[in-house]
Amino acid sequence: MENAWLIPLFPLISFLILLLFGKRLKEASAYVGILLTLASLIYSILVLFERFSEPTYVTKFDWLTIGDFHLTAGFEVNQLNALMLFIVSLVSFLVHTYSKGYMHGDERFHVFYAYLGLFTFAMLGLVISPNLLQTYIFWELVGVGSFLLIGFYFYKEEAKAAAKKAFIMTRIGDVGLFIGMALLFWQTKSFEYSDIFAAVDAGQVSGTMITLTAILIFIGAVGKSGQFPLHTWLPDAMEGPTPVSALIHAATMVAAGVYLVASLFPLFSASHTALMTVAVIGGFTAIFAASIGLVQTDIKRVLAYSTVSQLGYMMLALGSAGYVAGVFHLMTHAFFKALLFLAAGSVIHAVHTQDIEEMGGLWKKLKLTGPLFLIGTLAISGVPLLSGFFSKDEILAAAWEGGHPVLFVLALVAAFFTAFYMFRLFFMVFTGEARGNQKHVHESPSVMTFPMIILGVLAVVAGYVNTPWFGTFLGDWLVDGNEALAAHGHHEGPVWIMILATVVSLLGIYLAWLIYGKRSVSRNWLSGSGDMLHTVLLNKYYVDEFYQLTIVAITKGISYFLRFIDTFLVEGIVKGITGFVQGLGATGSKMQSGQVQTYGAVAFIGLALLAVIYALTGGYLR
């Protein structure tokens, strides 16, 4: 574990190599990337196993000295970090592998791999950071990785806009995190997690300050994890290549927000308000995004809204004090959502479109992708025995136990929606008649299917690390040795919750089958019930438009107003002054008429003036 810092280093090396020599390596770049991430993966597995038996390892060195404060850098391997290291390096490795097939033939192949390396480095760095500052640093770097990869097809206007949007919107969140971090620093005099928790425990920080900083930090998480109201960038981010969506916008980076809240859980749990905020935002986002997902027709966008919704779920879990639930769902979600994206990528690779209206009947043609996609769909829908079932159940239990009946109901409804739209997607894509041009449809090469298979397996089995039946191994391990977290460990919910959840998801699946599978219910059933609602959903509640009209417009307005000030007021004053001086000069010049008597007159009048002033003010006259 003392060498865990090597894990992020491998992808960094990959990035540097590809940056310098990528052009010459061409598609051989893939091997550099794959091998080095494999090294990371192996090492993280080792670290993970080591961590089962050994205590948390922390090391640090002085990074920057500010007067008496020594800001440090270093790394830490605790349970959460080790788990995240594993998840990230695994998904990254799989995506690296997958991309070799998916990106084949792209002229900027090596650039893509370089970016992947950069992102993986940053993400791994993020998860082993022992302090808030370092977290923030890598937090921003993953943002850049994401930005670069979203904008990979830079010549597309949409990609450009999406990349810009992603960066700026997450930056808004980051500023919240930044403020929270800075305030917290002056309260606790440290960025170290351990010091912060100790200070919070010792009551050195006032309650309001805890709430304030926690909420500010949560704003950062909101931005990164695409929570309402900063969610709009995430669906747009689908402009990036699909493997990227799988890696960044499903499995790892977007989960960083959840990870941040999780790793600062002791801080959050010290403030009821903060937790409540997290839960409410999470719950709302879950159902809000799910409802949008109901009507989208772009395969990746559906998955994107699903991601937003699922992240909301995780937040809901954390906010309901379900620490384990949140982390657990983070893990299972990483697997099945990555699977879904890769499968979707495989579909797109096959049919060269992302519009599900142009797909259909692909089950027979994509013999491997189809079942894998189905596994993913079942897992996310919370069908029993798959990983999603267990983690979702854990969340529902946490919400119920946490005493948030409203949130519990929200979660249930969201689960229903999820099941519905995911199966809507599945049926639209794989069953029924082929609607688009599907002449050249073929299964993806094995380099692409191999990662999917692994993820498929994980999507099925990952849930068994923490089940009510075979033991809550994960939950126990995560909170092991940490009293603050122990209180928020595994929630043993009532059995009816599990049954209710199962019923709800099955209902959703059934409804989807009725409409899109069997087609016994008109597709317009929903839209028919209210054109308005449909339009609203289709337009994602007009949030983007709202932002355009308010924030963007206001910013532009301020800018133009300031430009007015700049050109007229600032420059105007300057012009006024120079004009005055010039005018004075011109007047003086005009006085110089060439009339010698004027000159004499001016001189004498000057003298007379002085004399009169002197006579009046001199004070020597009796």
Partner: protein
């Protein structure tokens, strides 16, 4: 002692000085302007001579000063007139307000 107070002489000098000044700054003919300046210097001389008799410490110095002033005034008048003649040769005018070829 004397029936005429010093201030009367000084006032006379002041009046003549002002007349000279007004003439110098308003008259159009340059010769008159030069003469007006002479009048101003004359006014000064009255002052000097007055002070040499009625001053704080009467002395002959005032008269000497006046003599010097007279000689200087004569020199100045001569040079001024010479310049005027030179100017007249090129411009054919002695009107002072027509001397305005140089201005901004």
């Amino acid at each position: 002692m004397s029936s005429v107070p010093a201030s009367a002489f000084l006032a006379l000098a002041l009046i003549l000085f002002c007349i000279g000044l007004y003439g110098a700054l308003t008259k159009r003919n340059t010769v008159i302007v030069l003469i007006s300046i002479e009048l101003m210097l004359n006014a000064v001389n009255i002052n000097l001579v007055t002070f040499s008799k009625y001053g704080m410490a009467p002395s002959i110095t005032g008269q000497i000063f006046a003599l010097f002033a007279i000689s200087v005034a004569a020199a100045e008048a001569a040079v001024g007139l010479a310049i005027l003649i030179a100017l007249y040769r090129t411009k054919k005018t002695v009107n002072i307000d027509e001397m305005d070829t140089m201005k901004n």
